[in-house]
């Protein structure tokens, strides 16, 4: 696949790895957070850790929209799906997230709720057209990459007068989450989480551009490198971060120049601004209430807002006491630090959000990397 395979080349990976090994100063430790769940997934899937020197450490961030979705919001989605006449259209990612009372969207579907998986929200709009006697609710999740498509869907529904189409909006914002991490006591004051730099999200940045990260580089004096999604992109970004730190720079650099510009996608941003506005605060699983971190539908399009339409009241639900997802999402703990990791909590039976999504730190480590945790190392018989 063009523009994919070339960026997965093992030979080039080893070259970049040797550059990192050579340029990382031996008496210094480097801690970088990859914000985006897709990068977490890539790091695990391609075994990038194996290619990094021991003094370069990756910390997994909260950029996984499924992982940070509070249980209470899934409960609301299940409640919506249970309303008579409603078809809940959702991306498949949400189907297995455990909610309250032992339910999930998958289990609610098995009990008779009309819940349908879609690849694109455009299909949810088509469903509304094809089923005028039903109420279609689209369960919208995602960071800034996924928000513009939802905006287009709402505008289309509004233009076509599709009164039976509404959106349950859970779109969240990247810069707010980054700020929240940098402001957390562990990072800011206590220094218990040394955080030297960020790998910025790939596709979020195609929409918002590199400009929003400049604030973090300046205010918190930490370099940010926007990296593409493929493993070579991630490795190159790590090299660029090492160089910035060695040279005492704290700038925003763009590794993903083939898709990201400083301004991003102006048209997409305008469409989002037309349809959505900031919520004053929003609960993030693991991070608590984060101000100005999420979107809701503007007054003009409230007719298509499922929360308004169905009067959904949000009820916060606390995480399982044994669950360390909050600390893991903030980079304070590792999956292996969690008492229930790999025992009670597995991808088959996820307790918390980090295990539910395949790009959550715990799921990624369990699925791709846990063989490295065990003291007995598998040895091939020669």
């Amino acid at each position: 696949m063009k523009y994919i395979d070339e960026f997965r080349d093992g030979a080039l990976a080893r070259r970049i790895a040797s550059s990192i090994a050579r340029e990382a100063l031996p008496d210094r430790r480097y801690h970088f957070m990859e914000f985006c769940g897709g990068h977490t997934h890539a790091i695990s899937r391609y075994g990038i850790k194996d290619l990094l020197p021991p003094n370069v450490e990756m910390i997994h961030g909260p950029g996984c929209p499924v992982c940070v979705l509070p249980i209470g919001r899934i409960d609301s989605a299940i409640e919506l799906a249970a309303r008579p006449g409603v078809i809940l259209a959702t991306y498949a990612d949400t189907m297995r997230v455990p909610a309250s009372n032992g339910l999930s969207l998958m289990k609610a579907k098995a009990r008779g709720a009309d819940i349908r998986m879609v690849y694109t929200c455009a299909d949810a709009v088509a469903m509304a057209r094809a089923n005028p006697d039903r109420e279609i609710v689209f369960f919208a999740i995602g960071f800034e990459t996924t928000t513009p498509p939802t905006a287009v869907a709402i505008l289309e529904a509004a233009a076509a007068g599709l009164a039976n189409f509404s959106v349950f909006c859970n779109h969240v914002l990247t810069p707010a989450a980054i700020a929240n991490i940098l402001e957390s006591p562990e990072v800011r004051e206590l220094g218990t989480v040394p955080l030297d730099g960020f790998i910025g999200p790939a596709h979020v940045s195609t929409v918002i551009g590199t400009q929003p990260y400049e604030y973090f580089a300046e205010e918190y004096e930490r370099p940010v490198v926007i990296a593409g999604f493929e493993p070579l992109d991630v490795m190159q970004a790590i090299l660029m971060l090492v160089r910035q730190l060695n040279e005492g720079r704290a700038e925003v650099e763009n590794e993903f120049t083939r898709a990201v510009t400083r301004d991003g996608n102006i048209k997409a941003k305008a469409l989002v601004a037309e349809v959505f506005e900031l919520r004053r605060t929003f609960e993030w699983r693991g991070l608590g209430e984060v101000p100005y971190s999420a979107l809701r539908i503007k007054e003009k399009y409230r007719g298509h807002d499922a929360e308004e339409r169905y009067g959904i009241a949000y009820r916060a639900v606390a995480d399982n006491k044994a669950c360390e997802c909050g600390a893991i999402l903030r980079g304070v703990k590792k999956p292996t630090d969690c008492k229930v990791f790999g025992t009670v909590c597995t991808p088959a039976n996820p307790i918390g959000s980090c295990m539910v999504s395949s790009e959550g730190a715990c799921a990624a480590h369990y699925t791709y990397g846990r063989f490295k945790d065990v003291p007995v190392v598998a040895a091939a018989v020669s």
Partner: protein, 79 residues
């Protein structure tokens, strides 16, 4: 996050619509979020929408940058 994949535009069947192709797999997607796409362009596709055009010159430049790592290595080992 945000599974998105670079795909080649092979047809423009309607206003704000494109047929994209990745190694023979074809899909109809929306161009509502970007303008000026022509057949032959590569676009980044996420949940059925093109988010950005892929700059092929920049892609080549980035790959060259990766290869440069190896060049430096060869240089330093000669010293």
């Amino acid at each position: 996050m945000c599974l998105a994949i670079p795909a080649r535009v092979v047809a423009l069947p309607g206003p704000a619509e494109a047929i994209i192709d990745v190694d023979g797999v074809r899909k109809r997607i929306s161009l509502a979020l970007i303008d000026g796409v022509v057949v032959g362009d590569y676009v980044i596709v996420h949940v059925g929408y093109a988010l950005a055009r892929l700059d092929e010159a920049e892609a080549a430049r980035t790959l060259a940058l990766f290869a440069e790592s190896g060049a430096r290595l060869a240089e330093s080992s000669r010293q």
